[in-house]
């Protein structure tokens, strides 16, 4: 039974994605790309409205339900909008009969009639003001919390799915270049796919899911890298007899130790000028790649070259 569910899931996901993209009206999105469009007096525009080009007039007496996103072109609101209005691009004008029940975020090209009503918060000049960005790396507390979270995650994997953690650690430890290479692709493809999905609006939840999975994958990957490092340290003769050697038979503690250490070291290395960020990025990519290579530890990764070498021998 479980096997058949596993096979059905990708098809359901595929059908859902196809349905999401097949028709504007199906999921309540209207996408205006060109030409002049008017929502006339008495008309009701249901669902989200995305404008990337052309001109749109929401006339007095019209009603628009759902959010309005303006990325390009011109939008004149002179009717009722029951959702939020977000206009980082294009030109937005609020006429005297405009009434927005949600929040309003507008970019530089913004005109507002004094009689226009906005019930929610108004933000004009979208974008981060200079000097408000945080320095890279954040505080030491963040590094410590990150290390503790990774340790907890590693311990959880070692407790409830030790074979999976072992497989991911093998992939990260024995096949670091392969894991890093696949991590590069996963990162590039995943991040650009997430951006593309975000612009479809209907797939914003999928974007958030992808981002959450990405964070979880990196955390799990760090746990696996930590476990691989800890396993290697156990075998160092100079450390024999120390507390670490005593944990050789207690994988949960070993995994927690490794996860904590790797996250802590990466948090410190990240702050080293010039090379620190690159090293931390490389390890994170390899961590993510190890997770992908093994299907979250579900199968051991066998390098095709190793299999060929065995055959040649």
């Amino acid at each position: 039974m479980r096997r058949s569910r596993t096979r059905v899931a990708p098809w359901l996901a595929l059908v859902a994605l196809l349905l999401a993209g097949c028709d504007d009206a199906l999921l309540g999105i209207t996408w205006v790309r060109a030409d002049h469009h008017v929502v006339v007096d008495g008309a009701r525009q249901a669902g989200a409205l995305l404008i990337t080009g052309g001109e749109v007039l929401l006339a007095p007496g019209s009603r628009t339900d759902g959010p309005v996103l303006l990325l390009g072109g011109e939008l004149t609101i002179d009717g009722l909008v029951t959702g939020d209005v977000l206009a980082p691009g294009g030109a937005l004008r609020l006429g005297p009969w405009a009434a927005i029940q949600g929040d309003l975020g507008a970019g530089a090209a913004f005109e507002r009639h004094p009689d226009a009503l906005v019930e929610g918060d108004v933000t004009v000049g979208l974008g981060l003001p200079a000097g408000t960005t945080q320095p890279r790396g954040g505080g030491w507390w963040r590094v410590l919390l990150q290390a503790l979270a990774t340790a907890a995650l590693a311990a959880a994997w070692a407790r409830w799915a030790p074979r999976r953690l072992g497989a991911m650690a093998d992939a990260a430890g024995h096949h670091f270049p392969v894991a890093a290479s696949l991590g590069v692709l996963v990162f590039l493809v995943g991040s650009i796919a997430a951006v593309i999905m975000a612009f479809t609006i209907v797939l914003i939840p999928a974007t958030l899911l992808v981002l959450a999975l990405g964070v979880l994958a990196v955390g799990t990957g760090w746990a696996a890298v930590g476990f691989a490092v800890a396993r290697a340290l156990v075998r160092v003769p100079a450390l024999a007899g120390g507390p670490l050697a005593a944990w050789a038979g207690r994988p949960v503690w070993l995994a927690a130790f490794g996860g904590f250490d790797v996250a802590l070291v990466l948090g410190i290395v990240e702050r080293v000028p010039w090379v620190g960020g690159s090293v931390a990025l490389l390890v994170s990519l390899a961590a993510m790649g190890a997770v992908a290579l093994t299907g979250v530890g579900g199968r051991p990764f066998v390098h095709a070259g190793d299999a060929l070498a065995a055959g040649d021998a």
Binding site: R7, P10, L14, R33, T52, G53, L71, G72, G89, A158, P162, R163, L165, G166, A167, A169, D170, H174, H175, P177, V178, S181, L182, V184, L185, L188, V189, I192, A193, I196, F199, R231, V234, A248, G249, P251, L254, L293, R299, P300, F301, V302, H303, A304, G305, D306, A307, L308, A309, A310, G311, D312, A313
Partner: protein, 468 residues
Amino acid sequence: MIATTPDAPLGETPRAAPPRGHAPRGVTTAGIAVFVAFMAAGYAYNVTFVQLGVTDLGRRLVGLDDAQVAGAMAMLAIVTAAVAVAVGVWMGRVGVGRDLVRKLRIATVVVAGQTVLTALAPLVATEGAFLAWVLLTALALGVGVPVTFSLAVHLVPVRRRGLAAAGVTAIAYAFAPLGSGDWTIEPLARLFTVGMLLGTAALALLAWRDLPLVRAWSRQHQRPAFGIGRYLRGPAGEGHAAPRVGADPRVGAARRTGADPRVQAVARARADARGRLLSVLALLFVVFFVDSLGFLRLVDTPFYVAETWRSAAWGPRVTIAVAHVVAAFVGGTLYGALGERALLAWVLGAFVLVHLGYQFDAQLGLGDGRALGIPILYAVAVSLYTVVTFAVWADLSTPDTIGLHAALGVAASAWTATFLATALALRWAAAGVPFERHVALVNGVALPAFLVLLVVIVWPRPRVEAAA
């Protein structure tokens, strides 16, 4: 609790034993270096000199219009493909695929002929001379492709083909964005004549002097580590997941009918090899077609190239070149490590995503033409599939089939796709199809192809018996 037996301490998977009986490292390294240098030079000649130089030669020096130049390019593609396939068949029949020295001698003659053609190119002034020049160039290319690709079975061990292909790709693409962009025939002819003279001399030295190194290389194809392509080895070459063990229904049928399982196994291996070759041919046809169809329009759209590939500033061009090089080695590493399904999914998936990215960018008006995100992903996608094209034909072949397979791959998959895409792109441009529509149409080809590939990937595979 994690298993802590001596065989699998702390949950580790036992690793494969290292190979035995290797040739001296220097011999192998030198062979790989020669292969990489030869293929990179050949790729630069084909892409930069022939594809770009011929256009300038026909238009500017001879005075032909676009349609006539396109016709000459079509003739070049068709003649090259036909000659390559014929030479590939001939190589298999007379056993040239196993004879390194003969291949080096043929390659020397080809490169010498190409050097003469290159030096004469700026002197071509009439349409007849131009067509004759194109015809001779096509003949040389057609002979050269199967011969040069087949050097892999002597020079590059199967395990190193991914990295060798990465080296070729990195060298070929690193210089393209960094070049001056002066793609007129005179400077190109001067540059390539000098380089090819040196190359001819080096090849002649290898082909006619009885060097110990060449003698060592010429025997290497007899070793399975060189002579039997990775995808002809069954589960051992697939990688990624551990070989599956179970009941293969075909073997079961052979047992029920009393047929000799060894005969069945050979027949199955041949059928699998043919299936793999056809699958890779089809997939790379799609990739080349999508790439040519999309990129041809892209390079004619100043908004997308003025501040990236053709930027006056060094920064964007260096960034794209670095992306090509990094992606080439990413591709090379993954080529040697992953199974074919995962590898091909990444190659086509990256391409589909790039073109989707351009479509979104064009339709939403998101970018200002200076953003390097999509060009970098484009460079990654191009490098990935180029690595595959340099390595995969040898890995689908033996010394007897490499000539034909390389010819089919390069001719049927690459040039035919490129030629068809070029013709279609010219037709759409003549019909006034806007950029957004053009990219959307490209996605209309790419997305269904990717969905088909996904179906193929998730389709359950017949299980294979581990060993009798």
